[in-house]
Amino acid sequence: VSERTRSAVPDYTIGAVTRAAELLAAFERPPHTFRLSDLADRLGVTRNLTFRLLRTLELSGMIYRRDDYYLLGPRTSELGRLALRRLQPLVDAGQPVLEALKTETGETVYLCAMEGQEAVCIAAVESDFFVRGVLNVGGRLPLHAGGGNKVLLAWLSPEMQAAVIDDPRGLRIYTPQTPNDPAELRARLAIIRRDGYSVALEEVVLGADAIGVPVFGPDGTVVAGLGLVGPADRVRPRLHHPLPDQLRAAAERMRQRLLVAPAA
């Protein structure tokens, strides 16, 4: 056994599968449709391999070919939707609660949940105001900043919390108000757990304030974060009263709905 192999982390990955994944990822860039030669150049692999990868992916519907151009196919569309399916019972329980909360508060409200190591927005009901908070359902949210999302971090296990807070890449800064000092963030999380809600003053988007509360599941664990986001001039005066009570009441209604819903 050579020095090199002994010190290396064992690599169980399969090269061609990684290339195929990279090929699919290449379609994220506009214009999302490319010719074989464009793709080969971007991946830095031969046209022959690119052709065989495309052909394999095309046969399964992951890629769709229109004349000389390739684009992501219907199978990719369907598998993508599956990614959020595990969280569907939460969406079903939360949707009517979000509708009512949006009517009560006038602002955009949303639900987020952990999927693996990441927080994802699983449902949102937008404010009717012209200037309003907007979320991308299915999109990833930061855990260290924001309303409903920071609540998720506050109730994560200490190990998972540490993995986020002490990430060697550092905490991403979105605005001058984004918490990015680990010690300060830990202190804030303690306050969130004590108060039962999280406020975020322009932490993710300048001009936008947010608040979040935990949604507890039937087993008493936090299953989602319920958040509200809107322009600071409308939201900030209400952040500590009455929004926390309004959100907590909504989270409790959602817990009740989860109690009667069939298990995920």
Partner: protein, 302 residues
């Protein structure tokens, strides 16, 4: 049981030997992703290996590779550690074409041809979400001063009209019954048939003839004809139709001699579109759909 993958870590040179046109390890990885399409949509390594007939070692390595790309993720389950589809695929899916778009794109040239041949409005319908209505996916409008208007996205009944009724005729019986006994079945025009027994008779006739002539079923003054489109699995996934005003179409549709120049191109288009979508069986497909092992061998023509 497949013991090994014709591949070693970090290379694909062995896979290249397995087939000169596809990549074996990538095909296995896609099979693995496809396994998650089945409920409960999350599985452990052993279960996946069993489902796919692959070794646990290979499944583990494919999962590790896909996990590194965010295509799958690990979740804690009461049964132990399991895998599920990851959010990275959700990101990608936002740029993907869906089945309806594929169908519309494939149908467009056929609808163009059919409109040129007949001078009338041609259209493609599929079953809308909810299953009780049709939705127009594509249409090519007639250029004549008097024409029938069908818009993309428009909801249409399944129990009346040309393309929609032809599509209904090849749906599973439970769907047909749900549609024809539904309260939405009502008189829309002078020719609408609403009695469940009449509709059952019409659907049987469509399966026999392969097309349907709808005389003022959907709207007064409008006649139509339609035929079903089948996909690779033999399922009817769309209906293609021609619609025009009674003064131009009625006489041609009711006369067996004059009908040919309309019905022929319609069936040609429906058959050719089905072929392009991968349908290899007889046209129209047998109904009810035969079990998989009794399917007509591919290449058997109508």
């Amino acid at each position: 049981m497949r013991e090994t993958l014709a591949d070693t870590p970090g290379t694909d040179k062995h896979a290249a030997r397995a087939s000169s046109y596809t990549v074996e390890s990538v095909a296995r990885a896609i099979d693995l992703l496809a396994a998650f399409e089945r409920p409960p949509h999350q599985f452990g390594v052993s279960e996946l290996a069993r489902q796919l007939g692959l070794t646990k070692n290979l499944v583990f390595r494919v999962l590790r590779t896909l996990e590194a790309q965010g295509f799958v993720l690990r979740v804690d389950a009461p049964e132990g550690m399991q895998y599920a589809i990851g959010l990275r695929l959700y990101d990608l899916s936002r740029h993907a074409i869906n089945r309806r778009q594929v169908l519309s794109a494939a149908a467009r040239p056929y609808l163009d041809d059919l409109k040129r041949i007949t001078s009338e409005t041609t259209y493609l319908v599929a079953i809308a979400d909810g299953g009780l209505e049709a939705i127009c996916l594509e249409r090519v409008e007639s250029e004549l001063g008097l024409r029938n208007r069908v818009e993309v996205g428009m909801r249409l009944p399944l129990f009346a009209g040309g393309g929609a009724k032809a599509l209904l005729a090849f749906q599973p019986e439970a769907i047909q019954e749900a549609v024809i006994t539904n309260e939405r079945v009502r008189v829309l025009a002078v020719g609408t048939r609403t009695a469940p027994d009449d509709l059952r008779q019409d659907l049987a006739r469509i399966r026999r003839d392969g097309y349907w002539i709808a005389l003022e079923e959907y709207a007064d003054g409008a006649d139509a004809l339609g035929a079903a489109v089948f996909d690779a699995s033999g399922a009817a996934i769309a209906g293609v139709g021609i619609t025009g005003p009674v003064p131009r179409l009625r006489q041609r549709l009711v006369s067996p001699e004059l009908r040919g120049p309309l019905v022929g191109p319609l069936l040609d288009a429906a058959r050719a579109l089905s072929r392009q979508l991968g349908y290899a069986g007889v046209y129209p497909a047998r109904w009810p759909m035969p079990a998989v092992d009794t399917l007509v061998p591919s290449g058997a023509a109508a």
